[in-house]
Each structure stands twice: as C-alpha cells, then as structure tokens.
C-alpha cells in the first residue's frame, strides 16, 4: 500500500460500501515453523473465503493446521519460529500480509477479532475483567477510563453476564467457565469487528454450556452481520451451526462446501473416516471405528496425497500425485482422486 494517502481502515471502510459481501479471501496459504529438528509444514496451501453474515467452520484434528491458519490471518504467529511462506490473505480486498505491522495492528482486534479455547488462561489473571474489556476502548478508540468501564458493563450485559455492574471489577478466576468465555466474547466484540474467529470456543466447556455459548454466538452474529470463522474438531457443532465447512488435513483443505451437504454426502475418505469414527447413540456397535494409522509428521509429510497411508481407497496414483481440488458440485470441492467412488459408496 505504498504511496497511498488514506489509511488502511479508511480503505477497508470505503470498500465496504462498494462490496458488502466478501470479507475474507484466503488463498494458497503456507505457514512453516523452523525448529531445531527441521521444518514443520503447518499449513500447506489452504484456501477459503468468508462472506458477511456467513459462518465457516474449519474442521480438523489437532495438528491439521487449523489454529495456525487462523493465527496467520490474525497475524499473531511468533516469528521466529513461524513464517508465512506463501499465499495471500485479503480482508475486504486489502492484502493483510503486505501491511506493515503498525497498520496490521489497527485491523487486529478492531476489525478482525479472535477468541480462544481456554478462557481461564487466555485472560490475564491479575487484571479485572472490566479493565481488560475496557482496554479495547482505551487503546483503539481513546476513550477515558470511566467511559470504557461503562462500555464494558454494556458489553457484559449484552453477552448475558448477570449482575454485570457488580462483577465488572472481578477477576477471571472468580467466574465459572461459561461466564469466562462470555467475557472473552464480550471483549472480542467490543469494537464491532467484521470477522470473529473462534478457536475451539466450547471445547473446554460442559455440554450444556457449550450449547448456550454457541447460541450466544449465533444471536450476536445475527445482530451484527459479522462473519464467523469457527475452528473446531466437533462434527456435530459443524452440522448445526456452520454454513460452509473446510475440512483440513495435514495443513490443507481436503474437502470444502456447504456443511450439511458435506455432512450427509461426504466426498473425501478422511471426512468419511471422521463421520464413521463418531460414537453413535442410535446404532449399537461392538467397537468404535477410528481412522487407522495416525496423523502425519508435519516435518515429513507423505508424498502425493498426505492421507494415502491411512486411506482405504488409496492406490498407486495417490502416492505420487498430490490431488488437486476436484469440483464435486456447485460450491463443493474434494481433494481426492477417487471422490466419485467415495460418493457412490456413501450414497
């Protein structure tokens, strides 16, 4: 953005008027970590997009690169040892990866926000929650302490924390798990971001609380029209909440499309494996069906299709040719040479 007179946020705002729609465009993202033993290829060519009001779920196991990719979008990867080695991340058409850090920081938290899995460790234990929420207003908007405190209370009420006014000076450890997560959500939404990235927001919570939090997120999204990127390993949540899903394996997407369609008619052996490995309450089986084998060593990703060592459909071709994204249907892709077979077998 050299030579432009307007600031980035101006540009983004201006573009917003022109194209209300596409919020985020991630294209061919590559992230690697250079450590003592070698290079860990955490993200290998991930692409997806997010529109206003849309919920995209990024589904995968640990080590699939889902969290790392989100952190790359936010720009909070510790570098070293992490490096973004390729691809583009466009927020409302503006290339974030080219922005200088000072500009990037203005976007972070203000336009794109992120919440994390364990609210207890994600919140600073020695500052009251009101202070932490209010910080957003003090730093990004220059409000006074009193004003930001008032706004913090407003936000806490918005996320349905009871007795917000009394609890604004409490510390994180004084809240229950679900309440703490609401505090984090409040903090992230304080400046009305256009995108919220939620990295496994409910994994650490009880099932009933999980449902409440997901409902809260859905309601807030409806109010604000923000885009939601939901990172999870929970298929059930995906089916319930997400518009579109990106299934990740070994750092890239292996299947992408409308979540219900993918859920009911998967077109990739890995997705099938994930579905089948879920314990089901309606069918009695003697054994569970895990996907055989284990996730790949990201320092030595198998040649060809990374899933081939564990794939029941694997053939000679899969060990040498990295499958491209085949179009399975409108808005649906699958990175499997034999996706038609998979589809057929699943009906």
């Amino acid at each position: 953005m050299a030579g432009s007179q307007t600031t980035t946020t101006d540009m983004i705002g201006g573009q917003a008027a022109a194209t209300t729609g596409r919020l985020l465009d991630v294209e061919d993202l590559h992230v690697e970590f250079r450590i003592e033993g070698g290079v860990v290829n955490a993200v290998n060519g991930l692409s997806y997009s997010l529109d206003q009001g849309e919920t995209v779920a990024i589904l995968g196991e640990s080590g699939s690169g889902k969290s790392v990719s989100a952190q790359a979008v936010m720009g909070i990867i510790d570098s070293p040892p992490g490096f973004i080695t390729g691809g583009s991340v466009k927020f409302r058409g503006v290339e974030l990866l080219d922005l200088p850090e000072t500009e990037r920081r203005k976007v972070r938290g203000d336009r794109i926000a992120m919440i994390f899995q364990d609210a207890l460790t994600a919140l600073n234990p020695v500052f009251p929650v009101g202070w932490q929420i209010g910080e957003m207003f003090r730093i990004h908007r220059g409000l006074s302490r009193r004003e930001s405190r008032e706004r913090a209370i407003e936000l806490m009420e918005r996320v349905k924390i009871p007795s917000a006014r009394q609890r604004v000076n409490s510390y994180p450890h004084e809240f229950s798990g679900g309440m703490r997560q609401r505090v984090m959500i409040a903090m992230s939404l304080s400046l009305d971001p256009e995108i919220l990235i939620a990295d496994e927001p409910t994994t650490a919570l009880d099932v009933t609380v999980q449902a409440q939090i997901m409902q809260l997120l859905a309601d807030l999204q409806k109010d604000t029209g923000m885009g939601l990127i939901l990172i999870t390993h929970d298929l059930g949540v995906v089916a319930e909440v997400a518009d579109n899903v990106v299934v990740m394996y070994a750092g890239r997407e292996v299947e992408k499309g409308e979540s219900l369609a993918v859920y009911h008619h998967p077109a990739h052996p890995y997705t099938v494996g994930l579905m089948d490995s879920l314990p089901r309450s309606d069918v009695h089986t003697a054994r569970l069906n895990p996907i055989k084998g284990s996730p790949p060593d990201l320092m030595h990703i198998p040649s060809g299709c990374p899933f081939h060592p564990r794939c029941p459909y694997a053939q000679e071709k899969c060990t040498v040719e990295d499958p491209p994204l085949f179009e399975v249907g409108p808005g649906r892709v699958s990175a499997c040479h034999f996706w038609e077979e998979v589809r057929r077998d699943r009906g």
Binding site: S62, P295, D297, M299
Partner: protein, 322 residues
C-alpha cells in the same frame, strides 16, 4: 541460603502450577509439533537427558572441573609434592616463584600445597552436607507431600520456623555458642541443620505435583501399599528438581562454609580451609595479594562449577524452565 531454584514456591502450595511440561518454543509450535509421532522423545527422562547433556558445553566444562576438584580432594598429592604443614618461618610471605608456585603464607607454608589441600575440606563438607540434608528432606518431604493433612501442617510449621532464621545469622549463633572446637563434623552438622528445610520444601512440592498424577491413583486403586507407591512412583518422578537443586546446593554449602570460616565461626586452625585462608589474608591484601587471590580463585571456580552443573542439569531435565 537463598532458594536458588524456586523462591516463590513457598507461597504456592498449588500442585497445578507445576503441571504441564511444554516443549521449547511457542504454543503454536507446540500445536504444530504435537501431530508428530514421538520422534526420539520416547525413552525415560533420564536417558533423554543424558543424551542432551553429553553435547552441552556447560555440562562438559563443569563436569571436567568437578572431576578435577574431586581428584584434588581425594589425592592432593597428585597436584603438589609439598607438604602444606611443613612451614618454615624464615620463608614467610614470599611472592610466587619457581620454588613456591603460589608463594608462601605468614607461617612460611607452601601456599600451593595449602590451596590444593583446601579442596579436600570444602568438597567434603559440600558433599556430606548436601547428601545428608537431601536424604532427610526426601524422607520427610515425601511423607509430608504424600500424606498431607496434619503431618504436612506440622512439618510445614517447623520448616517455617527454620526459614525465619537467615543462614549466616543462625550459623554464627549456633557455631559460636555450641562448639568450642569446630572441625569438619561440627560445621557440617550445623550446615545440615540449617539447610534441610529448603531442600524439604522442594521435595515436598515436587511430591505434591506428582501425587496428583493419574498413575498414582491407579496404583492406589490396585491396592499397592503407600510405601511402595512412594518408592516406585513418586520418588523417581519427583527426583529431577531435587537432583538439580542438590547439585547447586553443593556449591552454596561450600560458599557458606567459606563465609563462616572467614567470619571466624567456621573451621579453625589447623584445618585448611579456603575461607580461613582468605580471612587471614584480609589484612595483607596490598602487601601480599597472592594470599587472597589463590584461595579466592579456587573457591570461586569450585562454587562456579557446581552451580554451572546444576544449571546444565536443569536445562536437560526440565525443559519448561529454559
């Protein structure tokens, strides 16, 4: 004696704070790496640690130094042919020369010999005190940590009382009032008495964190006796910080003995102690600096090598703390 290892431990009895070793690097690297199958990180902690240690210069340097010093302590004759006690007054306060490499002291004794023989006392005290206090600390600490409750509270209160008395102060009082004659045994005894609470704190907190582990619960569920659980599960897994701290303690004790001897409440003549030598040197630092420099150098190097070794061990055994 300051708690080098983890001073803020005394406030936190919370075992959860100890839990969770993470690999070196950022949380992101950890997540990315988690996907790998165990890449040579299998095998016991100690085997792994040994492999790492062998390559580290810190370990090698301090290891070599310590070996030399221990050799010096056991066979001082290997390093000098002179007799530290054969002193000729007419040779008093000679500068270093070919005849007397380190010069001579006030009595005319060969200083090189005295310095070399000084290692014996220092290393002996260091090791005796550390081994004994560690042993006592392990016994009491594992009992206190494992059983908790009243036993733990009582032991905790007792150690609190001990902690209220700073080492040097306590050392001065005890040594002065209790012992007219102060040899190796007496000084060691006092240092043990003053030192075991710190080690005990450490053992206790290590035991506390291990006790919460699931494998202890399963052993108990299987009906394994308490003593056995302590011996076979708790101790081996809580030993890592103890080993590190014990190594550092050797250095600290050597330093403490020297300080006490320097002040005149530690070892007495005819014992040969670096602290004592420095004490007699203090009035002559300008005229005969060699009296101060050589024991000072040896003392510093000795303490340094033990502390360095402790640091190296800690880096290898507890990656969290890098």
């Amino acid at each position: 004696m300051t708690d080098f290892f983890d001073p803020h431990e005394r406030q936190s009895d919370d075992p959860d704070e100890e839990v969770g070793a993470s690999l070196p690097g950022t949380p992101l690297a950890v997540e990315a790496i988690e996907a790998e199958p165990a890449m040579g990180r299998e095998g016991s902690l100690y085997a792994d640690a040994w492999r790492q240690l062998r390559r580290r210069p810190m370990f090698i340097i301090s290891g070599v130094l310590i070996l030399i010093l221990i050799t010096m302590a056991i066979w001082p004759g290997l390093f000098t042919r002179a007799d530290p006690r054969s002193c000729h007054l007419e040779d008093s306060l000679l500068r270093p020369s070919r005849l007397h490499l380190f010069g001579t002291d006030l009595q005319g004794c060969d200083y090189l010999a005295r310095t070399i023989y000084g290692a014996r006392v220092s290393i002996s005290i260091g090791i005796i005190v550390t081994v004994t206090s560690t042993f006592v600390a392990i016994v009491l600490g594992s009992v206190a940590g494992y059983y908790g409750g009243l036993v733990d509270s009582i032991i905790a209160r007792i150690t609190d009382v001990w902690f209220a008395i700073p080492t040097i102060l306590g050392g001065i009082v005890i040594l002065r009032s209790l012992f007219r004659v102060r040899g190796l045994l007496q000084v060691s005894l006092v240092l043990i008495v003053l030192g075991w609470p710190t080690m005990l704190r450490l053992v206790r907190s290590a035991v506390l964190s291990v006790r919460e582990m699931d494998y202890v619960d399963s052993a108990r569920a299987l009906g394994v006796s308490d003593l056995r659980i302590i011996r076979r599960h708790i101790l081996p897994n809580s030993l890592a910080p103890v080993i590190v701290y014990a190594t550092i303690t050797v250095g600290v004790i050597i330093s403490a003995e020297a300080a006490l001897s320097f002040l005149g409440v530690g070892l007495q003549l005819p014992s040969i102690s670096w602290g004592l030598m420095i004490s007699t040197a203090q009035n002559r630092i300008l005229t005969a600096p060699h009296l101060l420099l050589f024991p000072g150098l040896f003392l510093s190097t000795t303490v340094f090598s033990f502390i360095l070794m402790g640091d190296a061990l800690r880096d290898a055994l507890d990656p969290r703390l890098r």
